[in-house]
Each structure stands twice: as C-alpha cells, then as structure tokens.
C-alpha cells in the first residue's frame, strides 16, 4: 500500500518499546565506555583520530573522550552533550555525570520492564534528585571566613581532582601550583589570565608557576636581551607596510623614479610611525601583528626591545598584567597608558628561548610552565590542570565543600532511601532505583581500583547509619576510611551539577517513545 511510506526513502522510525530500548542501550553503552576511567585508579583511553596523521590522544578526561567519538545513536548524543556542558560550566566531573546518567537509565530500564510507566519513574527521579540535593546542602562545609582553612580546602580539592589524572604522582606539587594560580585571580573565574605553556623535556615535577608572565616569542635581533624597569607599549597595529585604508586607493605611476619616490614616502611614513612609538618613552614594544625588518631595525637602533606577532590572547594577557592599554594609534603619547614591569629577560626552558616579564604591576595573571616527557603527556597534563583550575576557581566563588571518595553519594543514597520508604505509590520504586544508581558511583570507583566493591559498599552503608559519619572509600589503602582525615574533598558545585544534569538527561531520554531518523543529507557528488 502507498500509505506505508509517509517518510522519505531512507528515513526510519522506531516506536514504543523498541525506541526506548534503542535509547537505553545507546546511553548505557556510552556510560560503560567511560566508566573504567572513573576514580583515582581509573584507566586511560587511547583515541586515534581519523584525520590526517592519525593523531593519538591519551586521556582520562570524560569530556575529551566523548567529544572525539563519532556517535550515531541519538540518546548517546544527549549524554555526550551533558558531559560537554559539565566541562564548560564547572570543568570537572565530566565522567561522573555520564556514569550517573547511564546508571539511572539502567535502573529505569528494569522498572520499565516491570511495567511502570516512564512518567511515574520521572516523577520519582525528580523527587529523589531534589531530596538528594537537599541532603548535600545540609552537609556542606563552608570555610570562606577562615582563610587558612579555606586554603587547605582548596588544596584538598585540587589533590582530589588531580589524583584521578596523569598528574597523580606529583599531585602535591600540582595542587600547590593550581591553588597558587587561582588564588592570584582573586575571585575572578576568568582562566584566561592563567597561561599554560607546554614544553617537552624534563619531567612533570619540573613544572613550575611563574609569578610573572612568559611570552613564547623571540626578541628581535640586535636588541637588548635584558631590560630593567621596562616601560611597555602593547599595540595592535600593522608594522609591515602601512596601507592606505581608503577604499579604491591604488598607486599608478608612469616612471620608475616615481615608484622610488613613493617607496621613499612609504618608508618615511613607517619611520614617522616608529618615531611616534618611540616618542612614548618606552623601551619595550609588543605588537600583535608582524614587525618587518625595516621597523625592527629602527627599534634596534633606538635600543628598544620589539616583540612581534604575539597572538591575541598573549596581547590581552600582557595588557592585563602590565596594566597598559592596547594601542593602535600613536598620536597622543601623553595619554596612552604604558605597561610597567621590573625586568624583562630572555630565559631558556629546555632548548627554547622565551621572554619573561617579571615584577609586573598587576599580580592577577601568571604562567604555568609544564614540562614532561612527550606531547601526549603534556596534553593530558594540561587537561588535568585545566580541570583542577576550573574546579578551584568555581570553588573560590562558591566555597561550599563536600567530602569525597563516594561519601556524598552515600549520604544522598541514604536520604533518598529514607524518602522512598515514606512515599506511597509506585514513585517510591523509582526513588529506590535512584539511590541504587547513586551507589553505582562508589561501586565503580572501587571496582576500577580492583577492590571488592560489594564488601566495601556494604561496610560503608553500615557506617553511614551513624549520624555525622565521614567515611568513604580510600582507594589507596583499599579500605573504608575517614575522608575528613585523609583530606579528600570535592566542590559542592561540581557534585550538584553532576546530580542535576544527570537527572535531567535521564529524564529526557526516558520521555522519548519514538525515534524518527531523517534520511541523511545527500552530500554533493564531487566525483
């Protein structure tokens, strides 16, 4: 019959149970994929790109793994999306959010199989999520007032975050780096002012935080290599041939002599510009665009350090740290704000020469130089450090802190269980399922560490019946231990985001009862 086809040729439609199965399976497959990277003993994944060169990335970061996957299952895409958002918003917990959403769906699948309507499950999940959040809010510790304690909180968070990454060997060192860097930001979440420079060579422990600012550029030839008490002009201007910008202007001459004249005028113009710049009374000039040989020479003659082709971020950061403004016109030298720093010098890291600005006016920005054996290590180190910096900067703003090591999950699970027992109706089944899904996170952490998860979780559960219990899983010693003593902390904001986005995603997938896939767009035939 003609009516069987209301869709286009290659479009497909899946209904009811089949649709639900397809999305459950897809979502759980994704969750299982990243599950093994969870926790301090989680394993890494190798990703090989399909692009030219088949570049290899080794990573433990959930968001990075999921971003690189080519996924066809629509439900799986939802999970990839939440992990990406988690990364943008809080920076860490990208794996946990996917694992939790996957576990929620796994539990939901069982409920659906026992003929409970998805809407009932959703209602239960929502109540459970709300209850779990409240349980967390009650248990948070806020040490904002006490600077000393707050710093130790930050250190703990940084250590906990880093312990699941490649940097875990030197977590003490990096935790300190990250905390120092974030403390300098003074509450701003703008991580742009923390610059991370990667230089292969040396070992991870050689990485350091530089108070000043390091620019990965070379100093022009014949110019001073070291300037004390520098006055810096940061600029964004063309220093090649300064074109006439009026539209349609072009040079049309009838003899070689005229060409030479105009060339001379051009040179004169450039010289004038350089003189104007020099007229600012500076001894260092940093430009975003190229500086050609001719002006460079002029600068060298004037004894000015000229740095060309600093990228956009570099310029902005430099302007930020030195307190100068980014200039593009040079007619009013008296009112342009110049940047200052005590010392500019060329330094060597490994084999590369870099320019270091130290003793800058504004202490906000800083540079972290990462050293490591290979590019893969450095890339992964950067990602890990980025996670830590994100979490820390968010914590500075929202200073509520929780214990780690599966402790928050146990607290939430306990509360949700209690709520389920009080709730009449089928919703309570969904709540129980929710608490089981929460427990899956400590279980996975224990499993990944090769521990007897069932034993540990049951011990933990018994411990948590006591009021004010602070026990969690200590993966290092492989037993249940006091998290407060071991200083394992997590930021409240991260946990809350994990909880809420995972529930939201699970809810969204549960509500679907039909999947309609359109025919893939035909690519233009170029053959």
């Amino acid at each position: 019959m003609a009516i069987d086809r209301i869709f286009k040729d290659e479009a497909s439609e899946e209904k009811g149970e089949r649709a639900r199965m397809a999305s459950f399976v897809g979502a759980m497959a994704i969750a299982d994929l990243v599950k093994t990277t969870l926790g301090p003993k989680g394993m890494d994944k190798i990703l090989q790109s399909t692009g030219r060169g088949h570049e290899v990335t080794v990573t433990n970061d959930g968001a990075t793994i999921l971003k690189s996957l080519h996924i066809d299952n629509p439900a799986a895409k939802v999970l990839v999306d939440i992990s990406k958002v988690q990364d943008d918003e809080v920076g860490d917990g990208t794996t946990s959010v996917v694992v939790l959403a996957g576990e929620l769906l796994r539990e939901a699948e069982k409920l659906v199989a026992s003929k409970i309507h998805p809407m009932t499950i959703i209602a239960g999940f929502r109540m459970a999520a709300e209850c779990a959040r409240n349980a967390l809010v009650e248990k948070v510790v806020d040490n904002k007032e006490d600077a000393e304690k707050f710093r130790s909180d930050l250190m703990n968070i940084a250590r906990t975050t880093l312990s699941s990454k490649i940097l875990s060997q030197d977590k003490e060192h990096f935790a300190k780096l990250a905390v120092d860097a974030v403390m300098r930001l003074k509450g701003s979440t703008n991580l742009e002012s923390v610059q991370i420079i990667k230089k292969p060579g040396g070992s991870l422990i050689d990485s350091f935080l530089d108070e000043g600012f390091i620019l990965d550029k070379k100093i022009g030839i014949g110019q001073p290599k070291r300037i004390e008490n520098a006055k810096i002009l940061v600029a964004n201007t063309a220093m090649d041939t300064d074109k006439v910008k009026i539209y349609g202007a072009r040079v049309r001459v009838d003899s070689m002599a005229k060409v030479a004249e105009i060339e001379g005028a051009e040179k004169e113009k450039m010289k004038e510009k350089v003189n104007k710049i020099i007229g600012h009374g500076i001894n260092c000039f940093v430009n975003r665009q190229l500086i050609y040989n001719f002006p460079e020479e002029l600068f060298a003659d004037a004894g000015i350090l000229a740095i060309e082709h600093a990228d956009f971020d570099g310029i902005e950061r430099l302007a930020l740290v030195t307190g100068g403004e980014i200039a593009s016109t040079f007619d009013n030298p008296e009112s342009v704000k110049l940047g200052h720093c005590d010392l500019i010098e060329e330094i060597m890291i490994g084999e590369d020469k870099l320019i270091k600005f130290s003793g800058v006016a504004m202490g906000q920005a800083c540079t972290i130089v990462l050293r490591g054996a290979s590019h893969h290590v450095l890339d992964e180190a950067e990602r890990s450090l980025h996670d830590a910096l994100c979490v820390l900067s968010q914590t500075v703003n929202d200073s509520r802190v929780l214990l780690g090591g599966g402790w928050p999950e146990m607290v939430m699970a306990k509360e949700v269980d209690a709520l389920a027992r009080k709730t009449p109706g089928k919703k309570s089944l969904a709540m129980e399922a929710f608490s089981r899904a929460l427990l899956a996170i400590p279980t996975t952490i224990a499993d990944n560490a090769g521990l007897d998860s069932a034993e540990l979780i049951s011990q933990l559960r018994a411990e948590h019946q006591n009021e004010g219990c602070t026990t969690g899983i200590d993966v290092i010693s492989g037993s249940v231990g006091d998290m407060a003593e071991r200083g394992i902390c997590e930021a409240f904001k991260v946990k809350q985001a994990v909880l809420l986005s995972a529930t939201e995603a699970a809810e969204m997938i549960l509500r679907v009862d039909e999947i309609i896939t359109c025919a893939p767009r035909r690519r233009e035939d170029r053959m």
Binding site: M1, A2, I3, I6, F7, A11, E13, P74, A75, V78, D81, I82, K84, V85, D87, D88, E89, G91, M119, T120, R126, N190, L191, E192, N236, T237, V244, K245, I246, G248, R250, V251, R252, V253, D254, K258, E266, E316, A319, E325, I326, A327, S328, T329, D331, V336, C390, S393, L500, S501, A505, M508, R511, D513, E514, I515, I516, T517, C518, P520
Partner: protein, 535 residues
C-alpha cells in the same frame, strides 16, 4: 474504462505516459489518503497531554532534537507523502495562528478521518460526509462559545493568565518549574502588551538561551541581552546611565557604492591621503563623543585604529551586533538607528540605566546586558539549562506560553482543559445530530465521536482506562449539566477542571476544530491521486 479512438484506431492520450504513473482512483484513493493522515496522527497521539511522551528526532545532519511540540515534530519529520504533508501544514498553521494546540489539532483531524473511513465503507458519499462535518463543526464552535468563561485580568491580577500558561507548559519537559516559567512568560507579555489595542507584538520579546546552569536560573530581563562583548578587552565592563549611539555604519574608511579609483602618482598625494585617513578615524570617534554618547553599538566592524581611538577616548563600543538585535535595542532604549556619523545628534541617542558585561562558566563566554532602559517595552527571556536540547525545547515551550498569553490579551475568553471542552462539544453535537434529516446525520454523529478521541488520548497517555474514564466523565457532564468535568491526568483526585485550574484559550480551541475540519474536508474531496513514477 472506455477508451476513445481516433480515426486511425489509436487511443487519445489524456495523460502523458500513463503507464508509468501511479494512479489511485475512487474509494481506493480516499482510503489511501485517510490512512496516511491517520498514521501521522498516530505518531503525535502519544505526545498529547501532561503525561505525553516526547519524540526524538534525528535531523539529516545528525543533530538530535527532543520535542513534545506537535508542530516541531512534524516539521522535522521529513515527510514524503502528500497527504501527510497536508497534516504538517495543518499543524503549522495552528502554530502560526495560535501558537499552541499543535498536537491536538492533528490528533483531532486524524480521528475525523478515521470516522470518515467508516462512513465511506457504509457507502455514504464523501461530499455528504464533508458537509455533515461542516455543520457539526459549526455546532461545536457555538457550543464552545456558550461554555466559555470570561475572566478579568489587569496589571495586578495575573493569576488567571499564569494558570493558563501553566496548563500549556505542563505538557512540556519543563513542567518541573512551570510556575516560574509561566510567571516569566506572563510578565514578559504584559510588559510589551498594548492593552488599549489588545495586541501584543511578540517580536519585542527576545528569547535567548545559554547552555549551563539550571532551568530555575531562567530569568526575565527588562532590557536586552546581546551575545556580544566589548570590542576592546580593556573597555569598562559596566556603564551606568549609558547614552547609546546606535550605528549602522562601520568605523572604517568609507566605501562609496560607485566604483572608483583613487590614483596615487605623487608623493604629495600619498601623504594627503594618509592624513585624510587619520583625520577620518579621528572625526568618526569625535562625532560620537561630541553628541555625548557613552556607548557605541555598531552593526559593523571596527578598524584596529578606530578601536583603539574609541578605547582611548573612553568610549566603550560593541561591534557586529545583528540587525534584529539592533532594532530591539533601539526600541528598548528609545534611540534612533543612525546610518551616518554626520547625522548623529544628542536626541537620537538611546538611554539605558545600566549596561554590563557578564561572564559565564569556565569558558570565556560573555554577554552584554542592557537594562533599565528608557522604554521598557522590549524584554528578554534568558533561558539557562543543562544542555542544548533542553534549551531548545524550553525556547519552544516558552514560545507556546507567550502565544497563549497573547491570545488571552486579545480575547479573554477561556474554556476548561483536560478534554472537558471536547466532551461537552461532543455531547452538544450528538444531541444536535438527531434533529438533522438526511444522511448528514451520520456524519455529524461521527464528528461527535471523533471529538471524544482527544480526552480518550489524554486518558490513555495518563495510564487510565480510556473507555471507562471517558464514559464516566461524559455521564457526569450530562448528569450535572456542568461542562467543566475532564480527565484527571495528574491524579489529583478531582476531575472538575475549574478546581484544577486547567484552562485553555477559547480561540485556540475554536481554531483547532475549524482547521481540522477544513483539512479533513479537503482530504475527503480528493478522489484521484496521480503521482509520477519513480525516476
């Protein structure tokens, strides 16, 4: 089929290449059309009501959309069948006209077609069915008017409006915070509404979304939010009592439209040109400064030099602002859009109490808030949510809610929801049917049955026994002569929709019935489908 032959015994060719074309005629054509229409309606049926399920749609480019909104689902469905396309159009026109009830209209049309099929089998002529439907729809619309209630609202009495918006939102994924979203929608509509003329220009409400945060963080901003940042990183991030120059000319050297060339052949010319150019930039900035602007918003880009000059003169600026946003800013701040620097005058500047840049999350996303504007007639609803799909779906839901609120301002009649209006109409139509002599009587009765499909689908989706619930409610309506009984979808314990505060707009419902009847009539009148063969 009798073939006509010409003098040489060849048949006349009426349709070109008739053999290669598919042709369906008579009853077969009608049946095929009906079943195509029905299968579209079947897809949407499960999305109806507060417990309706969502559909996941994968677009040709692989993007995933999760939606509960009938119009969106159908639009994304990539339908090939002609009749199915008609249904898509149907839902779209409901969306344009009313903005809500896009699922209901398709479900209703589907069940009208289903009833028609049965009548066709009995041998009733399609035109008679169509006429019967037409009569019945008139009865139903009249009945709706009879049972409709008017309610008064004003600047202070928002409750009824909010309740109606909540009814709309409760079927969407955002129903977790439907109360706050409904409030936002109502406040937004009232802020831009012209209560005198009873009209609302929804263009004045900008719906902007940003991934991150949670749904509860969604807020209404009396002003404009622009997804842009200051052109120079060192410009001030906050400006109080801003005077805004809204420009559509770039801070760049002029580009006359006529083709021209400026030939440089002497050194003098070169130098004058250069001076000219520098002066030009200087003039542009100076002109803005002279009129007293403290913020420049420009549709085009800035030259580096101009950018620095602006920064230098302490004149913050925003570049690359889209045309629509520019207009909104102009409306909100009471400024004029100025196409040329020469035409800048102090009166043409817009005014805003505060303009600030706000950063989000760990990435360097920044947005510009323009608030406390001179004319608060333009507002922005700023949606936050866990992921892109939620935001998109929230945008659609908010759009529905805004439309509902607008419809109420236009016409403040409401009917009660939860299928109660449909049941009441069905009773009225069936009572009227008996008085019609002729074959149409059957069609009218069928129309009444078809109306019941909406409460039936509601009950089904809510996990109730559909037939049992429907018959109970129906008898209750007749017994108490009270048209407010509907399906208790949320398990509240009462099925008086007045108590549950479930309202829908009168015009929305009327439009649903009229549009659905029209499309069904059209489909019924088709008796020949000629489609070209596959090529």
């Amino acid at each position: 089929m009798a073939l006509a032959f010409d003098d040489y015994g060849r048949p006349y060719i009426i349709l070109k290449e008739q053999e290669s074309k598919n042709r369906l005629r008579g009853l077969d054509a009608q049946k095929a059309n009906i079943s195509a229409g029905k299968s579209v309606a079947r897809i949407l049926r499960t999305s109806l009501g507060p417990k309706g399920m969502d559909k996941m749609l994968q677009s040709p480019d692989g993007d995933v959309i999760i939606s509960n909104d009938g119009a969106t689902i159908l639009e994304q469905m990539d339908v090939d069948n002609q009749i199915a396309k008609l249904m898509v159009e149907l839902s779209r026109s409901q969306d344009y006209e009313i903005g809500d009830g896009t699922t209901g209209v398709v479900v209703l049309a589907g069940s009208l077609l289903e009833q028609a099929e049965r009548l066709l089998e009995r041998g009733i002529h399609p035109i008679r069915i169509a006429e019967g439907y037409e009569m019945a729809s008139r009865i139903a619309v009249e009945n709706l008017e009879r049972i409709a209630n008017k309610f008064e609202f004003g600047e202070t009495i928002l409750e009824p409006l909010i309740q109606t918006c909540m009814t709309t939102l409760s079927s969407k994924i955002v129903n977790r915070c439907k109360r706050s979203l409904a409030e936002i929608a109502v406040k937004a509509v009232l802020a831009v509404a012209d209560l005198e003329r009873k009209d609302v220009n929804l263009d004045l409400i900008k719906v902007e979304g940003k991934v991150g945060g949670k749904l509860e963080d969604t807020e209404l901003i009396y002003g404009i939010v622009v997804d842009k940042d200051m052109s120079h990183p060192q410009m001030p991030k906050q400006i109080e009592d801003a005077k805004i120059a809204i420009l559509t000319c770039p801070f760049e050297p002029p580009k006359p439209k006529t083709k021209h060339k400026v030939d440089i052949d002497t050194v003098e010319k070169f130098q004058t040109l250069r001076k000219q150019e520098q002066k030009y930039f200087d003039d542009m900035v100076q002109q803005c400064k002279d009129v007293g602007a403290t913020l420049v918003i420009c549709q085009w880009g800035f030259d580096d030099e101009a950018n620095h000059l602006l920064m230098h003169r302490n004149l913050p600026a925003v570049r690359w602002v889209g045309g629509v946003e520019l207009e909104l800013i102009a409306i909100a701040t009471g400024g004029r859009i100025v196409p040329r620097f020469q035409e800048l005058t102090p009166e043409k500047l817009g005014k805003a109490g505060i303009v600030r840049e706000k950063a989000f999350g760990t990435t360097k996303d920044r947005m510009l808030y323009i608030e406390h504007c001179a004319n608060s007639r333009a507002v922005t609803i700023f949606i936050r949510g866990g992921n892109k799909m939620i935001i998109e779906e929230t945008k659609r839901s908010i759009h529905d809610a805004l439309c509902v609120a607008r419809n109420l301002i236009r016409n403040n009649s409401i009917v009660y929801g939860g299928g109660s209006a449909e049941i009441s109409c069905s009773i009225a139509v069936e009572a009227a049917a008996d008085r019609y002599p002729g074959v149409e009587q059957y069609a009218i009765r069928a129309f009444g049955d078809a109306l019941e499909s909406i409460p039936m689908a509601l009950a089904e989706n809510s996990g109730l026994q559909p037939i049992e619930t429907l018959s109970a409610v129906k008898s209750q309506q007749i017994k108490d002569n009270n048209p407010h009984f509907g399906i208790d979808c949320n398990d509240v314990g009462t099925n008086d929709m007045r108590e549950q505060n479930v309202f829908e707009t009168l015009i929305g419902k009327q439009q649903q019935i009229l549009l659905a009847t029209q499309v069904v009539k059209m489909i019924l009148k088709i008796d020949d489908v000629i489609s070209p063969s596959e090529y």
